[in-house]
Symmetry: C2
Subunit: 224 residues, 2 copies
Amino acid sequence: MWRLHHYPLCPFSRKVRLVMAEKRLELELVLEHPWDQRPAFMTLSPGGQTPVLVNAHDLGQILSDSNAIVEFLEETEPDYQLLPNDPLERAEARRLVGWFDQKFYADVTATLLQEKMYFRLFDRRTPDAGALRQAHKAMREHLAYIGYLVDRRNWLAGANFSLADIAAAAHLSTADYLAGVDWEADEAAKGWYMRIKSRPTFRLMLLDRMAGLPPPPHYDKLDF
Amino acid sequence: MWRLHHYPLCPFSRKVRLVMAEKRLELELVLEHPWDQRPAFMTLSPGGQTPVLVNAHDLGQILSDSNAIVEFLEETEPDYQLLPNDPLERAEARRLVGWFDQKFYADVTATLLQEKMYFRLFDRRTPDAGALRQAHKAMREHLAYIGYLVDRRNWLAGANFSLADIAAAAHLSTADYLAGVDWEADEAAKGWYMRIKSRPTFRLMLLDRMAGLPPPPHYDKLDF
């Protein structure tokens, strides 16, 4: 049994949750707001970032960094494999994980979290309309890239559902919770997300709510 | 034979070069300035970022994203292994790779490249003294963390030299080229970097120069 320190809108925690759900691993969630810098949490993670995964039966087993965690799970829990067998195809899946965790995050998710989550929870200032416009433009470009890929490959990294789809869905679902995705902008990307949304592992996660911050009505609907 | 598209101060390219040197893999370097957006380069890499690794004997084998590349090399070239065998120790090495590639990069390397490389090569504006002060402060904290780790473990992730040391050395050597590291701030971190510098694979890389931008005199000296 594992214990995951997370908060509902953390896209990197979402990635780990989805991996664990796909692998049918039992999981206990611990709500953690990294910005509170809770001392007991800071001792688990030098950077004070979510996600942190702790083995509930062996508290010395502490993992942080979402990439290190999912590679660990892929190595130690080979059932329901999420990386292809072929090394070049694995590299393509990992390239796309990096694309969403770094580029999509920097271009879209980070701005939305800053302007729409921190803003509502802590700040009194007006959201930065210029930053939101730029994130919106980047989101449309990313949707077009997703559409381009799934038109050619079925799933993002190839014929099979993989870690690349999970990373993309983790970021997009956070952005969607913050009303930051314009699904009508790309039909193929929307079709891909519809397939993601119909996975039982994903639907469960969409029921989570961040206190004081409701998602738009379409967020957990299969028909959106 | 592989061909690596890189530029001398790109820390992510340095990481790949060091991995390939440690694994005794033949490599042809192609100088690429991503900011030029050379069309032939843009067709290799959707994000237009270095590093990109191409198989010179099979031009369809194109890898990008430094993490995807080094995991691919670790899987396909198992000699001179750079990740430990134990899954938890592998996770610790990967956590530290993420730490340097993301946190150290954001806190230190990216600012130095912006203010000291782009500035000298393209800009006429004055470097941002506040940003440089902040990077300097962060650099000292990172050195202290390195010192803390090697005091307890010999190398960064454990008993053996690993990908974690390579990622850290890649970023620190870029920062050092830009006169951004105060080695006297931490004796243990300096001792670790001295051991890194004495590896033949690393010394070769330190001879590279960025045109129009000389490093400080101590940069490639074993005694610094």
